[in-house]
Structures are given as C-alpha cells and as structure tokens.
Symmetry: C2
Subunit: 327 residues, 2 copies
C-alpha cells in the first residue's frame, strides 16, 4: 500500500468483481460496506483482452463511485466461471465468457493495469456463496449450501464456517443425479439437477416441446424484450401471464432442485440452504417455496434446514469476491 | 486414573465397543494397538439391563485377553445404532437392539459397573468410519465418505480430518434419493439408496419376487445355515452358486450405491470413499468394483475418488469407538 496522500482516507478499499458471460459487476468495499459499484455488459468480441479491459474499467468506475483512487486499492477479488487455478490467479475453460475458452492469466493481467494490486481469483458460485455467508442471508449459519440456479446450476458449501472446496471441484450440486436415465444434461450425462433446473437445458426443452406442437408465449416474450435467450426475466414474465409451459418447466426445475437438496441435506444435515443465481434471484420466494415443497417429503432427519433466497441479490458474487480479497 | 499397582503396566488401555442388534464386539487398545478383543451375541430378551451386562462382560473378557484389569481402563467408547445424545452418553430409538427402543443411559450404566470409567457414546456408523480413518483404509486421506451397507445403509463423513456430524444427523447416505418414486424404503419414503442396498429391503424384495413366481436358492441357503434372515453371508453364498435373483439384487444394490456415491462425490470432491458394513465387508472387492462401475459414468470432475473396502473389516466399529474415547 502506498502512503496516504493529503485529503485521502487512509482506510484501504477492496474491489470485488463478478465476471459473467453476459455482464461484469464490480463493487468497492470500505470497512465491509459497499461504497461504490458499477456494471457493464461483457464484451462479445471473443478477444480476452477486451474482457480484461472491461473488468479494469468497471473497477475504475466503482472506485470513482466510492470516491477512492487506485492507490487506495488494498486488493481485488474476481469470481469467474470455469476452472480456477487459484495459486496462479488464472482461469481455464470458462466457455461462457467470450475469449476465455482457454487459459487466461486473469489476476496478472488485471493487476498490471491497476498499480500491481493483489488479485485473488475464485470460482463464481463459491464467491457468491461466500458473499451470502459473510454479508448476506447466510450470516447466522456455520454449515450451509448455496444452490445457484442460472444458466447452469452451481453450488457452494460452507462447512464449519469455511468455504469447502474438496480438491478444488466440490459444490457441483448441478450434477447430483436426480433421475438416472432422465433428461440429457449439458455435461453429456443424464438426469442431473442441471438438466431440469439450468436455463440452457430448460430452453432446449422448451424448443423441443414447441416442435412437438405445444404452445407457449416464452419465445414471444423473449423477442418482445429483445432477448436472444430465455432469460430468468423471460421465465418470470411468462409465469406472471400464467403460461402453461413456463409453469411446467419451473415446476420441474423446483422438483429437481428439491430432490437434490433433500439428498444433500440427508448427507450433510445443514443449517441452511440458500437459493440464488439468476433464476433464484428473479423468481424469489414463490420459487423457494416451490422447491421446499418438493424437498421436504424426502428429508430424513426431523429438523429441516432453513431455506432462503439471497439477501445481496445480484451483488452476491461481487461482494463475495471482495470478501475473498480481504474486504 | 488410579495409580499403577505393582506388577502392572502404567500404560492405560482404552476399550471400544460396537453394539449391534445381532452381536456385541469389544476391543481393548494399548498404544493404539488392538491387544484384546471379544464378541458375544446380543441378548434378545428385550431387557436393556441384559444388554448392558453383556457389554460389560464383553469388555471384561477383552481386558483379560489384553492382560489388563479394570483399574488400567483409561476410557471406554461405545458405538451404537439409534440417535445418540453424546453429551449425556445416552441413546434413543435404537430399534434394532432389543430393549433399546426408548432412551437408555448407556454411558452411565456401563460406567457404574466398570469403576466409573469415562464412557463416550457415538453413532455406530460414524465410529466405524472414524476407525477406518484413524487406523484403517482411510489413513492417507483427509476428506472421505464411509458407506456402510448392512441391515440398512449408513454413512459417515470425515471433512478436513474431522468427523463431520452437522447438527447431529449428518451422514444419512442411505437416504439420498436415487430414484424418485422408486422402491419403498424402511424410512417410509421411496427411492432411497437403502431401499435398494439395505439387507432388510433386499430381503423384502426377494420375498416379493418369490411370491411373483421367481426362483431363488436364497431362502434355501438361509435355512441350511440356520439363519432367520438373508444375512450378508447368505447373499455371498448365493452369488457363489450363481443364483440369478441374488445377482439381480446385488446388482441393484451396487447401482443405487453407485448413483448415491456419484452424487456425494460431485457435491464434496472427496479423496476417498470406503465401502463397509456387513454386506460391504462380506462381498469385498468384487462388490466394490461393481459399485465403481455404476458410479463412474456419473462423476463430473476429472479426478475420481479412490474407492476402497475396509481394512479393519468387522472391527472398524469397535476400534473406532476406542479411538473416540482417546484410544
């Protein structure tokens, strides 16, 4: 850290970034409070350099919003999809982020543009769950599972107050098997939670059902709102309009999430399960209630877990990334 | 601890007891080595006092075998089925142990007959897994799941080198849901691992298949060996004889265990999974291989867990109980 300049606060700030395939969300924390934030769309050029530049710019905008400058930066945390090489601060195979299908030295590249600040890189879902555990709905609990339902379905575990990552690949809640031989999953297997509760799978299934002659307003709503995908918002609007196919797909998602959560609960006897991700955040409490209804009949122990939506909503990831960096 | 008497070793011994519905196994450890053991059949009178007396006698016989006396006893550990009140050293609802269907002050009652030695009470499967972790097949690993397939199917978790019990009810691997709406389980639900891989469920299913006209030597072998239940040994002998129904039931058990283990692995990214319990120990490596074959196609991460049989075999529980008591 550089010495404080005249007129500057001596309290360092920590930046947190949630890198997604669609958007980049940054926050700046001072004394554990969000004092600035910014969001941009993820560049779709396919050049990883453009994504790095966008991350750096979003951090700079957040710093301005926080009335802080680069020398105040005590560290940066980044949550990213794909496989994370935490030691090197690199990411591999983040297929959803344009240009990130191969290894990207994320930490080093961002650091070099921001005064060589320390950059810590973590898995996007893990940092989201960490954010909720440290600063959100998970604060009262020491053992919890975060279930992030969005494009795919991810998970993150806090065990005895610590992020639990196994050998680096724990938390793949989306690939718990809920129906052997069931629907095809994007992982190439069948019957995973994600095959029923990930938006990519749900959209594929909706297109199949339309081909078979079933009616839905889902794609009409998608086009009306100038989307190219069945986003969480599209599903939410279709549900509001009473669209039958949307209802059916969301009910199936809740069923798969409920079965998977019951299995996880019977194995881990958790205090809490937090439902987040795009779909979880957008559909909110009614969706949580639907999942709980499916989960409860399969619980073995008498004491059920508390099941909650997120508190930080779409800032879980960015706040958690900042927490990872010491914020 | 009392002062050493002349001619006695000053090294204390620790007793461990595995209390089951059929048998009571005790061991005595000195310097972490098994130096004495004894086994008796569990009294079937329905009087809990008879079971307590049998536990005490079995410990005494083990002490004699270890050339130790009661004053040498540094502690006693007991693994029991049912719900454990660890603080009070009591057990509730151990329906399989005659007379133990209500609360039994197991620790206090055993202690009072053995010089008021400290008694620690734990869940039978958890202590079995602890035994394998500390002194058996699990020694090289810090994150592992024990899957105990016997009368029912239990599980125990070691997370970061510690027995993980959640709020007291973790490890119910037998009640992971592997086929929603599938076979009835003894817990009253459907499609649990135990509905396919617990001996009680497997026997019920065998009787149903016989009623439907299917042929098997299972019950013939059972009677020939003067058993009243389809024990693990009966299944093993039927398999050796190529009995089709036994093959089918064991294949279904391996399937359910494999699906459940894949889900647990995808969630926890464990280093190892240990397969124990009566069925696991009796059927050994061929059964482990069958389970691995079912599990592997559902694994998400590249690095699979090591899957092993137990090393202490039917002493896992008693040794683990002694470990729990400091042995």
């Amino acid at each position: 850290m550089t010495a404080a300049e005249p007129g500057h606060s001596t309290v360092p700030v920590i930046a947190g970034v949630d890198l997604g395939g669609t958007k980049i969300q940054a926050v700046v924390l001072r004394n554990e409070e969000v004092v600035g934030s910014a969001r941009v769309l993820t560049p779709q050029t396919g050049d990883p350099g453009d994504v790095i530049d966008a991350i750096v710019e979003t951090i700079r905008t957040s710093l301005e919003a926080a009335r802080a400058t680069e020398p105040d930066l005590g560290g940066i945390g980044i949550g990213t999809p794909g496989e994370v090489d935490a030691k090197a601060g690199a990411v591999l195979l983040a297929a959803n982020v344009p240009g990130f299908s191969e290894r990207v030295e994320l930490g080093r590249l961002v650091s070099s543009q921001l005064g060589n600040a320390n950059v810590t890189v973590g898995n996007d879902v893990n940092v989201g769950v960490l954010g909720e555990y440290e600063r959100g709905a998970g604060r009262p609990y020491e053992n919890l599972l975060g279930v992030w339902s969005g494009t795919g379905v991810g998970g993150g575990l806090i065990i005895e107050g610590q992020l639990y990552d196994g050998r680096g690949a724990a938390g793949e809640f989306g690939h718990l098997v809920v129906k052997p031989g069931g629907l095809h999953c994007s992982c190439g297997r069948r019957g995973c939670v994600e095959a029923y509760a990930g938006r990519v799978s749900m959209e594929r299934r909706a297109r199949q059902l339309v081909k078979r002659g079933q009616k839905t307003d889902l794609f009409h709503i998608m086009e009306k709102h100038e989307r190219t995908r069945l986003s969480s918002g599209v599903f939410a609007r279709a549900l509001e309009q009473g669209d039958k196919m949307a209802k059916k797909l969301i009910a199936e998602a809740a069923w798969a999430l409920g079965i998977g959560m019951a299995s996880a609960q019977n194995l881990l006897d958790l205090e809490a399960i937090i439902v987040g991700g795009g779909l979880g955040d957008r559909l909110g409490q009614p969706f949580v209630d639907q999942i709980v209804e499916q989960m409860t009949p399969h619980l073995f122990a008498q004491e059920p877990p508390v099941v909650l939506g997120t508190e930080l909503r779409d800032l879980s990831g960015a706040v958690g990334a900042a927490v990872l960096a010491g914020g």
